[in-house]
Amino acid sequence: MIVLADQDVPTRSASGFVLRHVSPRAGLMQLYGSAARNHAFDAMLRFTDYLIAVGHGTPDMIAGQKESVILKVNDYPEWEAKGRFFKLIACQTAKELGPDLIAKGAAAFQGYTEDFLWIADEEQWDDPWTDQLAMKFLTPVIDACNLMLDGETAEGVYNREVAGYDAAMRNETDEFNLSLMSWNRRHFVSLGNPQARIKRRPNIHLPFPPPKFLPFFMP
């Protein structure tokens, strides 16, 4: 399933790219915006073998919308980890939450040991998937998410994201952007079984973008 927070510029930017390029493949198994909260998450996760989530993170937890904790070390039932492939687009969750999920039986975990950083254009807040600034930072992650839904192994998904950063860095001339890309690449990790994979999902691309986001008024 896919969980996408969207309460501020960073979550809107990252969630926007997942919404445009990955979500069509997940069918009804997704929680977006104000629906991205823990009670709905707990109810839906049992029906799926993976989680792709965008939200604010700390070493031991990831939140959905606002402060709603989706997963926190020692505060979720073990069945939520069992056999699943987790890909968390959040800061620092690979420090403690990732190892905890693996210890509780997750097949694979991919995330970041430090802050995940990128540049977005605030003027694109209502159609973030058109943001050319953010695109070069987030394309490696989006490509990796799609490869995960193609049924590729965790190792293959990891290698695709790293190769995506390398390609982005080769094409980047701005020194600050290069530093940020290199930072994300250095702190991206894959834990668990490198051969783990999920069931292949249909490769669906929407020919048109989602409707523009509503203004910031969600609860």
């Binding site: 501020d8 510029v9 960073p10 979550t11 930017s13 990252a14 965008v54 939200g55 604010h56 993170g57 700390t58 687009i89 959040a90 800061c91 620092q92 430090e114 802050d115 995940f116 950083l117 990128w118 540049i119 977005a120 254009d121 605030e122 003027e123 600034l133 953010a134 701005d174 020194e175 600050f176 290069l178 530093s179 940020l180 890309m181 290199s182 930072w183 250095r186």
Partner: protein, 79 residues
């Protein structure tokens, strides 16, 4: 100002003076960036610094927030 010069200002320990000078360097660099958009440094985490900082304000945060100065030190050191 070239970003390589900004990186140099981040090489010192986070004293008040070093942070102030790095902040000034960031401001000077940001002022020379293209103006066709409103770029913001984003992250998906919590404190001790904002999760969305306009490029034009990075200098202010570097100059006043030790944790952010140290983050920028680490970010620019490896890349």
């Amino acid at each position: 100002m070239d970003f390589k010069e900004v990186k140099k200002t981040l090489e010192r320990p986070p004293t008040e003076q070093a942070m102030k000078e790095a902040g000034e360097a960031f401001k000077e660099w940001a002022a020379k960036q293209p103006k066709q958009s409103n770029p913001i440094l984003c992250r998906l985490g919590y404190g001790p610094y904002p999760d969305a900082i306009p490029l034009s304000k990075i200098g202010d945060v570097v100059a006043t927030n030790k944790a952010f100065y140290e983050l920028m030190q680490k970010v620019t050191k490896g890349g």
